[in-house]
C-alpha cells in the first residue's frame, strides 16, 4: 500500500487523516464547511502492472488462438478458444476473448458493458401520462396515445430496465392509451 490524498469535495484541499472516518461531522480546514469523509483501503492500493503474455519455450504447450507464439493460460468462456494472458478479458467473473466481448456488446448480452438502455415501458407511460399531467398538452393525446401503445407493445419484446422486472407498467400504459384512443374515436365518429 502507498500513501494517497483525499480532496475536500468543495474546496479541493487535501483532507488530513484525523478528519476522515469520524463518527460525527468535521470542519474542512480549507473552506470551513461541515464534511463527512469515509475513506476505504482502495485509496492506498498500489496500481498493479498489466499482465504480460509468456512466450512458448517448449513443445507440447498450447498456444493462444490470436498469438501463435504466446502461451495459452485460459479458454474463453464464450467460444472455447485458448487465450494468452494478453487476450484474456476478465468480466463479470468470466474469461472472454476480445471477439466475444465485442460480440456480446453488440448483442447486449453482457449487461456489465451496458451504459444506456431504452426502456419502452417507461416511455409508454411517459407518452400516456405526460400530456395528461401537463394539462395544456391534453389535446396531443390523439398523437401520443398510439405512440404509447406501440411503445407498450415493444416493451414485451425488448429487454426492459436493468433494475426493474415485470411488464405491469407497460400493461397499464397500454390500457390508459387505449382509453385515450377510445375517447378520440368516439369524439370524432359519434
Amino acid at each position: 500500500m502507498s500513501t494517497g490524498t483525499l480532496p475536500c469535495p468543495n474546496c479541493l484541499i487535501p483532507l488530513p487523516g484525523n478528519l476522515c472516518n469520524t463518527a460525527g461531522p468535521a470542519i474542512c480546514p480549507g473552506c470551513d464547511k461541515l464534511i463527512h469523509a469515509d475513506v476505504f483501503p482502495a485509496l492506498f492500493r498500489d496500481r498493479s502492472a498489466g499482465r504480460q503474455a509468456e512466450e512458448i519455450l517448449e513443445a507440447g504447450v498450447s498456444s493462444c488462438f490470436y498469438h501463435e507464439g504466446k502461451k495459452a493460460v485460459v479458454p474463453c468462456d464464450g467460444c472455447g478458444r485458448f487465450l494468452c494472458a494478453l487476450c484474456d478479458v476478465e468480466l463479470n467473473r468470466q474469461h472472454l476473448c476480445p471477439a466475444c466481448v465485442d460480440n456480446s456488446r453488440t448483442k447486449g448480452t453482457l449487461i456489465n458493458l451496458e451504459t444506456r438502455r431504452t426502456v419502452y415501458d417507461t416511455a409508454a407511460m411517459s407518452l400516456a401520462l405526460g400530456p395528461v399531467v401537463l394539462f395544456p398538452l391534453l389535446t396531443l393525446t390523439w398523437a401520443t396515445a398510439p405512440a404509447a401503445i406501440a411503445c407498450g407493445i415493444m416493451a414485451f419484446f425488448r429487454p426492459g430496465s436493468l433494475v426493474r422486472r415485470g411488464r405491469l407498467r407497460a400493461t397499464i400504459a397500454i390500457l390508459i392509451a387505449l382509453a385515450q384512443s377510445g375517447f378520440w374515436v368516439s369524439a370524432i365518429f359519434f
Binding site: 494517497g4 483525499l6 469535495p9 488530513p16 487523516g17 476522515c20 475513506v39 482502495a42 431504452t118
Partner: protein, 188 residues
Amino acid sequence: MSTPAPTARPYKKLPGIGAASFRRVRLYAGPDHFLQVTSNGFTESYHRFFFQDIQAITLFQTIEGKVWNYLLGGLSGFFVLIASVAGQEAWLPLLSIAAFWLVIIAINVILGPTCGCYIKTAVQTQKLPGLRRVRRARKVISGHIRPLIHQAQGEISPEELNRRLDPAAWRSSYRGPAPPTVGTLPAL
C-alpha cells in the same frame, strides 16, 4: 461463435432519489457494485461503482436548503403583505397561497440540511444526486454502502489512515488565514 449467456442481476433499491435537469437519479446495490440509474422517461443510463474500486465517499453540507427557505419565505411574506392591503374577498385565497409556501418551508426544514455527496474511484469522482440531505445520506452510507465496501475491501484503522493519508500534501496545499499586517506601507 457463441456468446456468453446473460446473467440475471438482482438490484436492491437504496433510499434517496434525486433530480438533475429533468432526469431522475436513483442508486441501487448489486452483488458486487452500486448502480446509479439516471432516467429521463425514455432511456436509462447506468454508472457502475464496484465495491472493490471505491476509494472514498465524501459529503459536505450546502446552503441550498437555506436559500430555498429564504426564497419561499420571501414569497410567502409577499402574499401576506398583499393580503393585508387587499380587500375582504382576496384575503382568504392570498393567505392560502402564503400558507402553501409555508408548508413547503416546513417540509424543507423537517428533511434537514442539504448536502453534496461524492463517490471517488481511481478514475473518477462522481456526484450522487440521490443523496441530497445530510441525514439521509449518512443513514444510507452507514447502513447500506459502507458495510458492502468493508466486506469487499476490509477496514482501515485510524492510525493506518493517519499514516497513509499523506500529511505533506495537506500542509503544502493548505493556505491558512493571511498573517496579520504589522504596519501600512507609505503612500507613494
